[in-house]
Symmetry: C2
Subunit: 421 residues, 2 copies
C-alpha cells in the first residue's frame, strides 16, 4: 500500500472503532462484564481453530528467524488458552473503573461539579511478542469501555487474527459491536504512521516492544503516546543497610527472572559498606550464574570482575549479567540513578528513615522501592489485576497500568439555570 492507501485503510478501521467507542460509552459495567465472559467462553469453544492458526505462524517461524525462546513465547497450547480465558474472567470480576468520581462537590452558587471517570475512547496498541497480549489488551480495553485497535507482529499474525475473530464473535453474542476489537491485518510499513496520525479518531497509542519501535511511533505520532520502554533498574545498598537483606534482595532482583523489565541491571554499593558487602554478594550472585562487570573500585574489592564500560550503565542486559558500581553516599547513588535509569523501578536497601525518604523523594522513577525487590513492580503484585503494561512515561499513567489507567475524566456540571454574572 502507498501512504494514501494506508491512510484510507487506517482511517476506515479507526472510524469503525470510534463508532463502537460511542456505543461502549453508553454501556453499563455489567454489559461489558457479560461481554468479557462471553469472549472467555468463545476462546474455550474455539480452541481447535485457534491452535490451527497458531500452527500456521509456527510453521513460518524459521522464515522469520525466530530464536527458540521467541518460538516458545509464540506457541499456544491448551494451558495458555485456558489462562487467556481465565484472565478475561478475572478482568470481568474487577470493579468497574468507569463512572467513579475523582471528586464531587457543590459550589456556592449551587452548581454541582463532578469529575467523573470515563473511557478514553479508541486506544491503539502496537506490540511485538506473545499472542496472549492480544487477548489481555482487548479485555482491559473492553472493561474500561474503550474500543481497541491492535497491531501485533508479523510472526503472530495468524494467531492474532484468530483471537480477534473469536473475541468479536463473543462481543456479537453479547450484543456489542464487533469493531470494539480490531486486529490490523495489513502489516505494511505505512500503516503504523497512519494510525499514529489519526487525530480525532484515535485517542491514545501505546507502543510496547523494542526501543526502535517505540521511537518510531513517538516520532510519527500527533496523538498522545504512552511509552513502555524496558527497564534499567537499580538496587542501591546504603551505608545503613541490613547486609543480609541487601544480599537477598539483590539476588532476587537479578537472578529470579532476569529476562524481564523489572529485573535489576545495576547494583550500586555505598563505599562505606562495599568491603563488607561486595565479596559476599559477588559470591552468591556468581553461584546463581551471574556475570559481574564492575567499576574500578568494585574490581579492587572483588577479584576477576570484568570491567564495566560507560555503555554498561545504560544497558538492559535482560540476562544473568550485572554491572556493579561503588558510590560515595546517597546523593551519588541518586545522581547515578537519575542519569542512567529508564525511570522504571529503582530500590534502596537501608534501615535509615532519612535515607529512605530522601531516596523516595529524589529518585525520578515510576516505582521507587524501599527494602523490597524491584521484581515487585508489576500490576498483579500491586493488586491491579491484569496489566496493559508498565509505563515509563510520566503522563498520563505511570508504572503498572490496569483498566483504571485506561480511563480519563469529564467534568459533569449540573445546575438549575445558573448563568454567569
Amino acid at each position: 500500500m502507498d501512504s494514501s492507501q494506508s491512510r484510507e485503510y487506517a482511517d476506515g478501521i479507526a472510524r469503525a472503532a470510534r463508532a463502537s467507542a460511542g456505543i461502549l460509552a453508553g454501556t453499563t459495567g455489567s454489559q461489558r462484564d457479560a461481554a468479557l465472559m462471553s469472549c472467555a467462553k468463545a476462546l474455550e469453544a474455539s480452541r481447535d481453530k485457534l491452535l490451527q492458526s497458531n500452527q500456521k505462524d509456527l510453521a513460518r517461524s524459521e522464515e522469520f528467524g525466530l530464536t527458540p525462546a521467541m518460538v516458545k513465547r509464540l506457541t499456544l497450547d491448551d494451558d495458555r488458552i485456558d489462562s487467556m480465558a481465565r484472565a478475561l474472567r478475572d478482568i470481568a470480576a474487577q470493579t468497574d473503573p468507569v463512572g467513579q468520581a475523582d471528586a464531587a462537590y457543590n459550589r456556592p452558587n449551587g452548581l454541582r461539579i463532578e469529575k467523573r471517570r470515563v473511557p478514553i475512547g479508541v486506544v491503539a496498541i502496537i506490540f511485538e511478542s506473545r499472542p496472549n497480549v492480544t487477548s489481555d489488551a482487548a479485555g482491559l480495553c473492553l472493561k474500561s469501555g474503550n474500543a481497541c485497535i491492535l497491531r501485533g507482529g508479523k510472526e503472530a499474525l495468524n494467531s492474532n487474527l484468530a483471537i480477534a475473530e473469536i473475541l468479536r464473535a463473543g462481543l456479537a453474542d453479547a450484543s456489542l459491536p464487533r469493531a470494539c476489537v480490531t486486529v490490523i491485518d495489513k502489516l505494511d510499513h505505512a500503516v503504523v504512521p497512519a494510525l499514529c496520525t489519526a487525530d480525532g479518531l484515535i485517542d491514545l497509542i501505546i507502543p510496547r516492544g523494542g526501543r526502535g519501535l517505540i521511537e518510531a511511533v513517538t516520532k510519527a505520532a500527533t496523538i498522545p503516546v504512552i511509552k513502555h520502554y524496558d527497564g534499567i533498574c537499580h538496587v542501591y545498598v546504603h551505608a545503613d543497610a541490613d547486609l543480609d537483606m541487601a544480599e537477598r534482595i539483590a539476588v532476587n532482583a537479578k537472578a529470579q527472572y532476569p529476562a524481564v523489565c523489572n529485573a535489576m541491571e545495576t547494583l550500586l554499593v555505598d563505599a562505606a559498606v562495599a568491603e563488607a558487602f561486595l565479596p559476599r554478594a559477588a559470591k552468591t550472585l556468581r553461584a546463581r550464574g551471574v556475570e559481574l562487570r564492575g567499576c574500578e573500585r568494585s574490581r579492587a574489592i572483588v577479584a576477576d570482575m570484568l570491567e564495566a564500560t560507560e555503555a554498561d550503565w545504560s544497558r538492559e542486559y535482560l540476562d544473568l549479567v550485572l554491572s556493579v558500581k561503588v558510590v560515595d553516599g546517597l546523593d551519588a547513588a541518586i545522581e547515578h540513578i537519575n542519569t542512567y535509569s529508564s525511570r522504571h523501578t529503582d530500590a534502596i536497601v537501608t534501615s535509615s528513615i532519612a535515607a529512605a525518604d530522601r531516596f523516595v523523594t529524589n529518585v525520578d522513577s515510576s516505582s521507587v522501592m524501599v527494602n523490597a525487590s524491584t521484581r515487585f513492580a508489576d500490576g498483579g503484585e500491586y493488586g491491579l489485576g491484569a496489566e496493559i503494561g508498565i509505563s515509563t512515561d510520566k503522563l498520563h499513567a505511570r508504572g503498572p497500568m490496569g483498566a483504571a489507567d485506561l480511563t480519563t475524566y469529564k467534568w459533569v456540571v449540573t445546575g438549575n439555570g445558573q448563568v454567569r454574572g
Copy 2:
C-alpha cells in the same frame, strides 16, 4: 540561529531547568509557598521597572500590527500588576498538591503500596497573549514543584523578560534556584521545535494560542503535549426544556463575554420546541446585538436569518455571531456535537433526567453541563483557584487545569526485605 545552535540553546535552558526541578522535588510546600510570597513582593517592589519594559513593547505594537484589543491586553498598569501579585498569593494559599496519596494500601505479603502525587518535572508553556500569563503560569508551576520554561510572543518579549527577572529575584530571595523560571529570550523559529524534542530534559509541553501554533507544536513534539484548543461550544435546548431557563442560558452563554473560549458558538434547538423557542430567543439575542446564522429549518421559523453554511458548524466566532440549528431529538443533537464540538464544553437544557443522563454520558467533551451556562467552564468557577488553561485533550488532564493537574504520581513501595517467589 541555525538548527544546531537552537538545539544547543534549548538544551542549555532545559538542563538548567531540569537541575532546578531536582531541587524543587526535595522542597516542602511551605518553602514553595514562601517563594510565591517572595515573588509577589518582588513584583510590587519592581513596578516601575516592569512598566518601563512594558512601554518598550507598547512602543513597538504598531510595528507588530497589533489591533487595539491586542494592545489593551498587552498593556500593564498598577491594577494589573496588583492582580498578578494577588494571584501569586492566592496560589500560595491553596492546598499543596504534592505528596497527596491517590491510594495507599498494604498487600498480603506486607508490602506497603502508595500512589503518591509528585511534580511532573520540567514544563514548557508556549503561548501568545497577555504578560500576566507569564506570572500565573510560573506561579502554578512553582506551587506544584515544577520548573518552567516560558516562551511568549514577540510582541510581549520585554514585558515577559522583565517579569521573569523579577520572579527569579524573588526565587533567589527564598533560596530557590533562579532557573525554576526561565523566559525564552531568543524567539528564532527553530527554538520551539528544539524545545519540543528535548526528550529526557522537558517532561511536558503546553501550547496555548491559535490553531496554527498548536498544530506546529504537536507535529514537532516527541514529548507529551497537552493541547489547549479554543472552544466550539454548544447549547442544546431539549424538547423538555424550561424555555425561560433555556433563553437565559443561551443569552448568557453567547452574549455575556463572547470573546472567550467557553462562549457558545452553536445553538441546537429540538424540533419539538423550535416554533415556541426560536422566535423569542432570536428576539432577545438580537437585542443583545447577536447576528444569527441559521439552518434551513431555523430560517423558516425566524425571518431574516443569514444562512449557516457547513463551515459555520466548525467556526469559533469569538464574537456576537451565533449559528443555529434545528435537530430531530436528543441523539441528533449528540451526533452534531460529537462531530463539530472542539470537546471543550457543551450544555443541555432539559427537565428530563433520562435526557440529561444520556447527554452527559454520550457527549465526548471535557465539560458537559446540564441546565447551566457554558460560561462556567473555568478553573475559578470550578473552585480550582488559578488555572494554567483549559485542556481540550483527554490525556493527561482535561478541561480546566489547576496546580494539581501539573502533578503526576510515583509508586512508593515499602517493605522489610520481601523478595519475589
